[in-house]
């Protein structure tokens, strides 16, 4: 039993803990699952040239990003023995301490969930056209760039 239907990845603003709880709760009916691995990206108070980040404002080339997310899903189901996979990413403003990425991978045995979750997060960081302005307390900003 594999669930591979498409859903909207982008969420406006931060991803709330309640949303995450709800996602976990929905999986209690899938009683063949033995392991979930969840990755959460949280916006960090980085200090850049003496100024502290307060917010990231995310934007995206959405049509391409959605295709990429779909490819990542397809590839993950082909590469790993997964039961479920959900990816959510914020657009717009997300404050420090708030969640901007939620990758939720479920499998019968733990190995597949661990392997897949990590692989998916790296794919998203490197290959999905999402852009971010790191905005400081004084509303000036720099453009964020992911590193390996």
């Amino acid at each position: 039993m594999k669930e591979n239907k498409k859903h909207d990845v982008f969420i406006h603003g931060p991803i709330s803990p309640v949303f995450i709880a709800d996602a976990i709760n929905k999986h209690s009916k899938k009683t063949n699952i033995g392991a979930h691995d969840i990755f959460l990206g949280q916006v960090r108070n980085d200090v850049i040239d003496g100024k502290t980040v307060q917010t990231i404002d995310y934007s995206s080339y959405e049509e391409m990003a959605e295709k990429k997310f779909y490819e990542i899903r397809e590839d993950a189901f082909n590469k790993f023995d997964l039961t479920c996979l959900h990816i959510y990413h914020s657009l717009g403003r997300v404050k420090i301490g708030e969640i901007c990425l939620f990758v939720f991978v479920s499998s019968v045995h733990r190995k597949a969930a661990f392997d897949a979750c990590r692989w998916i997060v790296e794919e998203i960081k490197m290959n999905v056209p999402v852009f971010g302005r790191e905005i400081f307390t004084d509303e000036t900003y720099v453009w964020k760039e992911n590193t390996k």
Binding site: Y61, I124, P129, G132
Partner: protein, 77 residues
């Protein structure tokens, strides 16, 4: 044939617009050359090109292409 160019993030700040239409350009190499000429500040930026939403690996003809995007470094997650 007209092609729609899309600029994102800091690249759109440099061009001053998110969408630019061009015509009569043969391939992606010529397109990049023309854009660097038109917006010299792009020379100091890292960017990738996506042709019809696929990342470009090497020079490509623009016949029957409808959209070319200029993408700054990714920052998702």
């Amino acid at each position: 044939m007209k092609i729609q160019l899309k600029f994102f993030g800091q690249l759109a700040e440099i061009t001053g617009k998110e969408i630019v239409e061009v015509d009569g350009i043969e391939d992606t190499d010529s397109l990049v050359k023309r854009m660097l000429n038109e917006f010299p500040k792009l020379k100091s930026c890292k960017f990738q090109i996506a042709v019809d939403q696929k990342l470009l690996k090497q020079n490509q003809q623009l016949k029957s292409v409808s959209e070319v995007a200029f993408l700054p470094p990714f920052a998702g997650g």
